[in-house]
Symmetry: C2
Subunit: 237 residues, 2 copies
């Protein structure tokens, strides 16, 4: 089962960098300069050096909170395994963040692992039961995917067995676990704050940034996909 990219970014596949520039210029005419400036600024902080994978989240408010945290910390890619449960963000909790991050869906955990490994990611399972390393000590010089499990049972055995490493959040209390949305937020906070200080290429390439801004443009233009078709025709693409 291949990954399914739900973000329509494939609408920009097959174009050269120059053609994308032309397309972006044409699209930015259709919304405010404020928005364009916002896109230009936020895209600088976007990363694919760190990404997130979630296994079978079933509570929509948790799914939404994970997307919101990814957006807040500039993490662009969220990989979602829907083996037993549909990933259904609740728009009130997500506060629109599902429009700005890329969600990739899979039916099987190992398909997701396989895809991510081919892209060069180390796969790090987050679980309070493993004792490998504290989140603050995780080596993030390599591209890193953090994997979070479902609400009640945590990660599947499969997800744990096939991970490259394990992290946990330091805890000092009677309560020995965090809610999945809090766990994701804490992990992303810790990892992305350190990442931004590291001497690694955590930013997206110029072309990735441009493609993302094209995609974001579609989110703010009413009936974006149809408008895109018209614009492509007009500028001869």
């Amino acid at each position: 089962m291949p990954e399914i990219n739900k973000n329509n970014a494939h609408l920009f596949d097959g174009y050269t960098f120059e053609q994308k520039v032309k397309l972006y210029e044409a699209l930015t005419d259709l919304y405010s300069e404020n928005k364009r400036n916002l896109f230009d600024s936020l895209v600088q902080n976007r990363t694919r050096h760190v990404c997130v994978m979630v296994e079978d989240i079933y509570q929509s408010h948790n799914a939404s909170a994970v997307l919101r945290s990814c957006d807040c910390f500039g993490v662009q890619d969220v990989h979602v395994v829907e083996q037993h449960n549909k990933f259904c963000p609740n728009s009130e909790v997500a506060m629109g963040s599902n429009k700005w991050v890329d969600v990739y869906k899979y039916k099987q955990t190992l398909d997701a692992y396989d895809t991510l490994r081919k892209k060069g990611y180390q796969i790090i399972a987050t679980t309070p039961h493993e004792n490998d390393s504290m989140i603050g000590q995780l080596d993030i010089t390599k591209p890193t995917c953090l994997v979070f499990g479902t609400e009640l049972t945590g990660l599947t055995q499969e997800a744990i067995d096939h991970a490259d490493g394990y992290v946990k959040i330091p805890m000092y209390g009677f309560t020995e676990s965090f809610n999945i949305s809090v766990c994701a937020a804490l992990s992303l906070f810790s990892v992305t704050e350190r990442m931004r200080q590291l001497n690694v290429n955590w930013q997206m390439t110029e072309e990735e940034q441009l493609t993302l801004k094209l995609y974001w443009s579609l989110q703010v233009i009413k009936d974006g996909t149809n408008v895109l078709r018209t614009v492509k025709e007009r500028i001869g693409l």
Copy 2:
């Protein structure tokens, strides 16, 4: 309006350290050695150097999540202002954490501020709108109370105007705020992780630890308050 300590810790007021030791020995006979060891271990990580104040939280799952985060990060004291809304933790989300932290209630924000200042705390308001400092840069060599506002409207103007400082969590996305429970967890994580590395007396005093363990004992002994009365009589206190 004076603070109301809901934790019955006053049951141990007026006893000398030695008397408390005697009481603790008598109480520990009534539960397992495992629990005693757990108390002895967890109390070492408990702190009053950092505490939390929440203003008028109205969603019980948020109230509960704040308590749970405090317990997880070893923060003992939670100060709750109930000007318009009752603080009602939801026990499923709190996972019992309300048994282990101390909750103090107030009717007015400024009463809480006044009480906390007299105890030597700097009062730091958390708000995404102020630009004073990032949470990671906050000076926590002084005892510090982090103040969190209500879900929809954030902190009251009064709470902001009378704070000693402001912090925010670094955010890089379109979504410009976190849910109160995520915000509290991120702030406490950042602050307590740094605190534990600092050369300050962040641990409780030996007597505070003992009193806390007495209080915790009451949580694991069935009908604890009545048992305590009997035990006191038996050992002549």
